[in-house]
Amino acid sequence: MKKSLRISHHPLLGEMDKKVISFTYNGEKLQGLEGEPIAVALLASHIRVLRRHEESGSARGLYCGIGHCMECRVQVQGKGQVRACLTPLQEGMEIQEGSRLPNAITGRVDS
């Protein structure tokens, strides 16, 4: 198992003692801290690809981190598309990366 990227003790802010909860990403069971942004929980688990571009299929990740660029959209079961950088992690969340989609207008069908 890879080393956690988290800062558990901060020299100024002290102990980072949030509750550890479970969630899944693309079916894989992971742990994160309750209430932290989904993108942060995934980054701490070494996951940087949050979405495949709907047209090209190329990888997309955290970019602006403040909700403006809309690049980090993931699918959360029961919530639809959300921005990973803004959406707080909750116990049992089932998260899927954003996926490449067919284009009904141009007729491109591969996905």
């Binding site: 709907e54 047209e55 809309m70 959209r73 919530k79 639809g80 598309q81 959300v82 921005r83 989609l101 067919p102 284009n103 009904a104 207008i105 141009t106």
Partner: protein
């Protein structure tokens, strides 16, 4: 400061100005377009992109759209650049039996005028639109309605006009219209110097009123603000335009059965899928002068209306929203007309939300009018004098 000359000076580098420039250049005219900002920098980039007959009054209005649709089909082959043209038709959907009856009347009148309209029953709506709310009663279709990317369309007209010799002057604004001793047009004074010409086309859209005032002519063109939402890329909800039937009521200022805010902001569903895997959602209509700030309350109201027709949209994020000013006229028809009192002065403005729809036919007839040819359609109903007669009655 320089002095140059041209056969025709067009004021305004939006869709109307560029269509006029293209058709004039094609007829061999030496054209200059004067634009105060960027090409398509005003209303033409703050709209959606439809060539619709479905929302036009049956008769002259819808015939004019049909002519425009035919011309746009030709432009696909004539212009130098692609502009995401498709002609999948468009539909209006009804919320009640009362609206279905009104829709039937609308369809009958359009068919009498020779347009390809037909009613759609509940089953036909359901089979095409799996995400549409289940209580929709039915609707109607106009089979020839088409769609374009309005910014690409404007630029395509612009680059093709340029290839044919038209000169485009952006970031150049008009400071005055010079007349000769007889009162005829002699030139256009701009921030970059004088352009000598005998013909000026006022295609300044929402800014056409102050341009007309430069030659002492009053035209009742007022800015009417509209908001549009842009969705994120998502699984396809549908591939052609959908509007609610009561959009027509909103457009023509008739009474609707909707809540206070929907009524106040003139909100009616307009769904327009794009080639970018997303869709645009409109619409609103407000008279608030030249205010271009986004009103979040209007955005919320438009979103609520869209979710009423497409419940799935509650889980689809809005990427951004924008608003634009539509050049409104009191009778919802544009002004496409020579101004007899000021020989050489022409007006092509006041298309409200129909600028993209009517640009091709407007540019075509304006070019024919200036070149002294017979016009493709009669422009008598579009003469600016119709408003002066109304004033005379008061």
């Amino acid at each position: 400061m320089t002095t140059e000359s041209a056969d025709v000076v067009i004021i305004g580098g939006g869709i109307i100005g560029m269509a006029t420039a293209y058709y004039l250049a094609k007829l061999g005219s030496d054209v200059v377009v004067v634009e105060k900002g960027e090409i398509a920098g005003g209303t033409s980039s703050k709209c959606d992109g439809n060539i619709l007959a479905i929302d036009k009054e049956p008769g002259f209005d819808s015939q004019m759209s049909l002519e425009s649709q035919k011309l746009v089909t030709q432009l696909v082959a004539e212009l130098d650049e692609e502009f995401e043209y498709r002609a999948p038709g468009s539909i209006l959907v009804c919320e009640s039996d009362e609206e279905m009856e009104a829709a039937q009347t609308w369809v009958n009148r359009q068919k009498e005028a020779g347009l390809p309209f037909r009613m759609l029953d509940r089953g036909e709506i359901r089979s095409e639109w799996k995400h549409m709310a289940g209580d929709i009663h039915g609707g109607l279709e106009c089979a020839t309605d088409s769609t374009v990317n309005p910014v690409l369309f404007t630029y395509s007209l612009a680059v093709t006009a340029q290839r044919l010799g038209a000169r485009l002057k952006t970031h150049t604004w008009v400071t005055g219209i010079r007349l000769d001793e007889s009162g005829a047009v002699a030139g256009v004074e701009t921030s970059n110097g004088l352009i000598r010409t005998k013909h000026v086309v006022n295609a300044a859209g929402v800014w056409s009123k102050p341009i007309a005032q430069m030659v002492g002519i009053e035209i009742p063109v007022e800015p009417r603000k509209g908001h549009i939402l842009v969705s994120s890329r998502t699984e396809s909800i549908g591939t052609r335009k959908v509007m609610e039937f009561s959009y027509l009521m909103s457009k023509f200022g008739k009474e609707r059965k909707v809540d206070r805010l929907t009524e106040q902001y003139g909100v009616a569903l307009v769904f327009e899928p794009t080639a970018s895997q997303n869709f645009l959602i409109g619409s609103s209509r407000e008279f608030v002068g030249f205010d271009m700030k986004i009103n979040v309350e209007v955005i919320r109201c438009i979103a609520r209306r869209a979710i009423r027709f497409f419940p799935v949209m509650k889980d689809i994020p809005v990427l951004r929203s924008y608003c634009g000013l539509r050049p409104w006229t009191p009778d919802h028809l544009p002004i496409v007309s020579p101004v007899e009192e000021v020989p050489g002065f022409y007006i092509a403005a006041g298309h409200e939300g129909d600028g993209i729809s009517l640009a091709a036919i407007t540019g075509k007839v304006m070019s024919e009018c200036i070149m002294g040819q017979e016009t493709t359609i009669s422009i008598e109903p579009l003469h600016y004098k119709r408003f002066q007669k109304e004033d005379g009655k008061k």
